[in-house]
């Protein structure tokens, strides 16, 4: 384990929940001191998505639903189809959700009262003839600047964070006649000071060197370790500089590659897959958190590939994982219409990581395609799903 620091959940204490738990009518033995829930009621939501809190403990609901944010067009069923950027000085939160060939952008004031909308079309450099489907939109936060990165069937677009100016366009090699093997870019991560990495359907990982300002973005390296289409990638999110691993990349066959960034990216470890697609991946304090098509979540030590935990988390394909780096809360969303919140704990004595289940929310009749925390503590999170024209937010009670 590389440089584990002790973890103190900031806004949320698991002990407090256990106390409430014991007061519930369910036998404590069956609960193992963990939050228990069952579906109680179906409260129809304003616009189609009814949500129900899955919480049996009287009076205690770790998160409660806030007013939804309407978006201009519905979310497509794409992995990790929600990106959140919090602008601290202006207390603004930006959200993006992909709809076919359009990106819906919403900025919301922190009180949730004011919204402004913008839609980005996938205009592909000068290719005016056709408009391609977008695979992913994600904000990349570098110390010097924030960029909005879009990946599509034609290439990679980088915008200023408000979506106003496209600063860079990278075209993919598109064969003249369509081939059986689809061509697209998917998987986006900002790494360290100046890198943005983007995955490609061939399995390549493109490394872009991004200057602190201006549009002089350069493709600096192409990493060729994956044989299958890249699904997702993530950089170390704890902000810790001690860790050795900076980046983890995942592909359709479930293989995970762990990288050290630099002028030349160095492969630290390759964690085998089991021919099960890894759809979403995160890296937190040297631990890889991977979500799979089978609904499982696995925790690996990044550098050694040691398996710390395996969770039968969801009944369907997982679409999104997110980590609140300060509190160590983990969010997972899947096609089974559930979002779950977990708590990760580093155990320095054994050099391992443990995970416990804290909370579940059923977004009724919605195949969840995007779920993200809105802040580093995990005080609030946002969710969207296929065919849904809204972003549903939950905050801690």
């Amino acid at each position: 384990m590389s440089g584990p620091t002790s973890l103190v959940p900031v806004l949320y204490s698991p002990q407090r929940v256990m106390k409430y738990d014991q007061a519930s009518p369910v036998p404590a033995s069956a609960m193992e001191g963990r939050l228990s829930f069952s579906i109680l009621a179906f409260a129809p939501g304003a616009l189609g998505a009814a949500t129900c809190t899955v919480d049996k403990v009287a009076g205690l609901s770790m998160y409660h639903k806030e007013k939804s944010i309407q978006i201009k067009s519905s979310a497509s069923a794409l992995h990790n189809n929600l990106s959140v950027l919090r602008i601290v000085p202006g207390s603004l939160t930006y959200f993006t959700v992909v709809h076919a060939n359009v990106v819906n952008m919403v900025s919301a004031s922190w009180d949730g009262l004011n919204f402004s909308h913008r839609q980005l079309q996938s205009k592909e450099g000068n290719i005016a003839a056709s408009s391609s489907l977008i695979m992913q939109a994600s904000w990349c936060v570098l110390p010097s600047r924030e960029l909005l990165v879009l990946t599509s069937q034609k290439g990679i677009q980088m915008y200023e964070s408000d979506g106003s100016i496209m600063v860079y366009w990278h075209a993919l090699d598109i064969p003249e006649i369509p081939t059986a093997q689809a061509v697209f870019a998917r998987g986006i991560a900002a790494v360290r000071e100046n890198y943005i990495c983007v995955g490609v359907s061939s399995g390549s990982v493109l490394v872009f060197d991004v200057p602190s300002k201006g549009s002089n973005i350069m493709l600096s390296e192409v990493l060729e370790e994956h044989r299958e289409a890249i699904t997702d990638m993530a950089s170390e999110c704890s902000g810790s500089q001690e860790g050795i691993a900076d980046l983890v990349t995942a592909d359709d066959s479930g293989i995970l590659c762990v990288w050290k960034s630099g002028e030349d990216f160095q492969l630290l470890n390759k964690i085998p897959g089991f021919d099960v697609c890894c759809s979403s991946v995160k890296l937190w304090k040297g631990t890889v958190v991977a979500g799979y098509g089978t609904g499982q979540i696995r925790l690996y030590e990044a550098v050694t590939g040691i398996l710390h935990a395996e969770v039968n988390a969801h009944a369907r394909w997982i679409y999104s994982l997110d980590i609140a780096p300060i509190s160590g809360l983990l969010l997972s969303g899947a096609e089974d219409s559930l979002v779950r919140v977990w708590h990760l704990t580093l155990i320095p004595e054994t050099n391992s990581v443990e995970i416990e289940h804290l909370y579940s929310e059923c977004v009724t009749d919605t195949q969840i395609c995007g779920a993200k925390f809105c802040d580093g503590d995990g005080y609030a999170f946002a969710v969207t799903g296929y065919d849904l024209s809204e972003i549903i937010r939950y905050t801690q009670a």
Binding site: R34, H99, P178, E228, A313, T364
Partner: protein
């Protein structure tokens, strides 16, 4: 996204169309020999070799309009005629049924089992016609060869491409409402119970391992549903049990088909936006359509006296009412209307359309020549 999506879209929508037509033919007491001819003619056309060659080439998905045009042609490949309201309704039912199957299939790969359920049923429809059966079997082999080796991730991409195609379609279907698998707002019900997909464990268990790989702790958690273990895996061979029921025939004479258009009014703003957006693919689309239609050979002699009309509504009055009251945003604006009206439209398509008209209607008067397809169908 995936360039391998069109064959599955076409075969499954075609399968659903055949289920509905079969039900309507029986419900309207069409003589067996005529009903049989309709089914055989449509299936022959659907599995035409040249047509399927075009279909199986890697390509982007058609727009809704282009695909609707293909199915208009297919539905009228025999002596049966549908007027516009019935054709709209038929297409609504087909698309919502397949949307349901795509959305609900337990894991992406099960879309293939849904397709095989349709293929099995199609084979059953033509079991007495060996030459057509051979045609269908040929396609069946092609499907298995093409899709069975794909990884879960690749099939998920196909599924996601299909879901983009079906996005924002919320037409309510009575059979789904009655079965409580669709809500009154048009969204499908997603169960949090029943068997988990093949290869998935029932949620609710955390296992912690030591650095040596030994399991050191097991912690259950409540999963919020009532799931059961996965069923056995369905067969991905030509024969064998598919296990999943999605894609099998849900209609019978006693269960008539019905749609409710009113439920979509809520989303009208969205529909309008989607439909009026300028489509830069229009030309490309016409080219694709032309290639495909070129393969869609229709060899028939629709003598006026042997033809008949099938209605997807209980009465003709209802059908007429449906045509008038259909919300504008649901209008399919079938492409061939534009193609024949617009002089600038793709010449290849016009040529093929012309060929079709002459070849298909040799005994018809000159007034029918070059007439648009829908008008011609309604005229019968």
């Amino acid at each position: 996204m995936s360039s391998r999506t069109l064959p599955l879209l076409f075969i499954n929508l075609g399968g659903e169309m055949l289920y509905i037509l079969d039900q309507r033919l029986r419900a309207q007491n069409i003589p067996t020999d005529k009903a049989k001819k309709v089914m055989n003619d449509i299936i022959t056309t659907m599995f035409n070799k040249k047509f399927l060659e075009e279909l199986f080439k890697p390509q982007e998905l058609y727009s809704k309009k282009a695909l609707r045009t293909v199915f208009d042609r297919l539905a009228h490949a025999s002596i049966m005629r549908l007027n516009q309201a019935s054709m709209d309704k038929l297409y609504d039912l087909m698309t919502m049924a397949f949307k349901y199957q795509v959305l609900l299939c337990p894991r992406p790969k099960d879309i293939l089992l849904v397709s095989f359920n349709h293929m099995d049923a199609i084979k059953e429809f033509v079991r007495d016609a060996p030459s057509i059966l051979n045609q269908v079997d040929e396609t069946y082999r092609q499907l298995i060869e093409m899709y069975a080796p794909l990884s879960g991730g690749e099939v998920q991409l196909i599924r996601q491409t299909l879901l983009v195609f079906f996005q924002d379609m919320h037409i309510r279907v009575s059979i789904f409402l009655k079965d409580k698998v669709q809500n009154s707002n048009g969204r499908f019900v997603l169960p949090t119970s029943g068997p988990v997909p093949y290869g998935t464990q029932i949620p609710g268990l955390i296992r912690i391992f030591s650095c040596a790989g030994e399991e050191v702790k097991r912690m259950p958690f409540p999963n919020g549903g009532s799931y059961s273990s996965a069923l056995r895996e369905g067969s991905f061979e030509m024969f064998g049990e598919r296990v999943i029921k999605l894609g099998t025939n849900m209609y019978s004479v006693s269960r008539p088909v019905e749609t409710h258009m009113s439920g979509t009014a809520k989303n009208s703003a969205q529909h309008t936006k989607v439909n009026t957006a300028p489509n830069p693919l229009a030309k490309e689309e016409l080219n694709l359509l032309a290639r495909l239609m070129g393969g869609l050979d229709v060899h028939k002699a629709a003598a006026a006296d042997s033809g008949f009309r099938v209605n997807l509504f209980a009465t003709d009055e209802e059908e007429e009412e449906a045509l008038i009251s259909r919300p504008e945003e649901l209008s399919y604006e079938v492409l061939n209307i534009q193609a024949t009206k617009d002089q600038q439209a793709n010449k290849e398509l016009a040529r093929i359309m012309g060929e079709f008209t002459e070849e298909a209607e040799p005994s018809q008067g000159p007034s029918d020549k070059g007439a648009d397809l829908l008008a011609m169908m309604d005229g019968l």
